[in-house]
Subunit: 411 residues, 2 copies
């Protein structure tokens, strides 16, 4: 990874906010420093702020990218809470994916030129004006793809593709249950399912999203309903593939919904993020509370259970080559107009708290994007989305609470 | 299933043996009765004997088959011990597959004619001179296939094919670890792997088998060695697919050997059959003793665990249509001479005890076949394979004991 000094981490909040304000709207203001979102420690939204850091420079085999847009994923909320295995040290700059323009090449970095439009995975630090990342995690952007779309593409579509076609074996006539069908991964799954004939997609989603995503989902399951009963009412023998980002008690439910030879894939654990702060549900706790699976039961029932973590695959297990091969296929599908990232909304770096609150409340339909060049929307005195309170350490509401209706929606 | 009276179950051993002897060598001796292998109760080899039973007649949708040869599988030893979930009532006729000639059609049974050479799955009762089974479990024999080969084909090749291509997703360049590589499933796995370019097969097998199966196995692992260490010495990052019929402590070992995105499949539990009788290791015990798997660990490591039971798929889960599609592909591969069942030895029905002892001791290379028309080999006074002692209820040796060298090998 690039060496990135976190110069401002010791400063007071007041000074940091002032520094950030100075550069606002000018990505190229100070060539030695850049703006980035910082996480000062694990916890609530108040741990996030925009500050300046030293310009990163590419190490051997890395590309330096002038960032245009960054993807915001559910895993970023878990990182904020420290709710992951072996969390890194804070302060840190969050973010795992971005799009932008190649601005420099480290020694031995081949295959790209300065000025190329690219999308990339980054092992943290994506949420800044400039990032450096190994060339193996960088992919050329199709001509018809915008920067916001490109920042919405890698994580969600690679995750969806690898689950459906590498871990499971999606084929004609099969059925798939996906939770959070209106989210980034959910929409990628639904679109990829539509590339195979006769695939039935069951999707859980809040009812206000149904109209917006109705073209990609065969059967809606309301997210507050008992989805096991709802699926069985439509398909008594269950489904072929269950994609679960809920974890906990849902593993048993998901396995129970599988047809023989069916595959259950756990790819996230958004149920772990129930409150706003770390204390509510820790990673270690969920490890012990999750239902264990008896292999003999799988044998008797002819079932498959799998886990999928794209970040571990990329950054711990060194499978950049496999992911690159998948990206090639996905870019081809995009060029054939068979898939297209669904962007929910664009947010300035300074609006990261509101964006996180929106994904937490599941107000989004498609992907949330941090637009590095965007100017924050001015807050009104009467605007209930002002985040100074949400940033406090109190435990907040669980699940849907109508808050989404009051969130700023910036397209 | 056909209604099959077990007329002789109340008779004394002496009478049964006499009845059986009367028909020996004459499959068509008494048209109202047939010879079959009976299991009088769960336990040791002494629970098996040949006796007569009423001629079965086909129910609606069934075919009546004059049996030529039957497959003997490891699961038959577990049935003998009652070491399966929900064991059926005894007395019963064991056996799940056979080959033969169609001799009658029940109402509505279409697609076959009297005189057709066929292979078939049967839900018990395969080890007799005539069986009836639903037409969906019957497949035409290729012209170039003999009856012994046909009886060796369905269970092993369908199991191997579905594990490699339906549960896992075997592709060019992958690696597979298979236990008992010299057994029926092991050889089917190895042959099917050779139909895909650049597949590396690691196979555990007793050293005396290595020469006989060396064409199909890339790397031999001695079955008494630490296979985890041996595999890692050759491939430090592990393998893509582990096929495990050992169960128990081996699930953790198998998962540990997987590369990221790799698949572990439990398809049997031959370690459960450690002794000769039921008491040694019960199904319920193994259920609790087997290592449970935490889905979050699968998530972190990007791994897949699956169970595969062909018998449950066919007879409990009603997936005859899927199996038929697989059999079509396998018959095509056989006709292209890409696969060919490896038959270890042929045994008369009366020799079923010796055959079971041979598979228990892992003396076989390939499949053991009961040849319905075969006359038993006369036993010599000095022949140590005489089974009256092995049939006693004492606990016998575990694992390899050299007994295999003394087993009759009849080809």
């Amino acid at each position: 990874m690039a060496s990135e000094g976190l110069d401002k981490s010791e400063e007071t909040d007041h000074m940091i906010e002032k520094d950030a304000a100075k550069d606002r709207g000018s990505g190229l203001g100070d060539t030695k420093e850049i703006r980035a979102v910082f996480l000062s420690g694990f916890g609530g939204l108040n741990k996030l702020r925009v500050a300046r850091k030293a310009m990163p420079e590419p190490l051997e085999g890395e590309l330096k990218i002038r960032v245009k847009a960054c993807g915001l994923n559910f895993i970023d909320l878990m990182v904020r809470q420290g709710n992951i295995d072996n969390p890194p040290k804070t302060p840190l700059v969050p973010g795992f994916e971005c799009s932008g323009i190649v601005e420099g090449l480290g020694d031995g970095a081949k295959g790209f030129e300065i000025g190329d439009r690219v999308m990339a995975f980054v092992n943290y630090s994506a949420w800044g004006e400039v990032v450096c990342t190994p060339v193996e995690f960088v992919y050329p952007m199709p001509d018809d793809m915008g920067f916001a779309e490109a920042a919405a593409f890698p994580m969600n579509f690679v995750t969806a593709y690898m689950m459906l076609f590498e871990v499971a074996n999606l084929r004609q006539g099969m059925s798939v249950l996906v939770h959070s069908a209106g989210g980034g991964v959910g929409q990628a799954v639904a679109q990829l399912c539509s590339t195979i004939p006769d695939v039935t997609v069951f999707g859980t989603a809040s009812s206000f999203k149904h109209e917006a995503i109705k073209d990609t989902i065969t059967h809606f399951i309301d997210r507050n309903a008992d989805y096991v009963q709802d699926v069985k009412r439509i398909s008594p023998e269950g489904v072929d593939i269950v994609l679960d980002c809920l974890c906990g008690e849902n593993t048993g439910k998901g396995l129970g919904l599988l047809k023989p030879l069916g595959t259950y894939i756990l790819y996230g654990s958004s149920n772990m993020v129930t409150g706003e702060t770390k204390s509510f549900f820790s990673f270690a706790k969920s490890w012990w509370q999750v239902e264990k699976v008896n292999p003999i039961k799988l044998y008797e029932e002819n079932k498959v259970i799998a886990g999928f973590s794209l970040l571990n695959l990329l950054f711990k297990q060194n499978r950049g080559d496999k992911v690159k091969a998948v990206m090639d296929k996905l870019i081809s599908l995009f060029n054939q107009k068979k898939i297209k990232p669904l962007v929910d909304s664009l947010w300035a770096l300074e609006e990261v708290k509101e964006a996180m609150q929106r994904i937490h409340d599941r107000g989004n339909i498609g992907k949330l994007i941090l637009d590095v060049e965007k100017t924050p929307t001015p807050l009104m005195a009467s605007d209930s989305t002002e985040t100074s309170e949400a940033g406090e350490e109190e435990e907040d509401h669980e699940g849907d609470n109508g808050n989404k209706e009051r969130m700023p929606f910036i397209q």
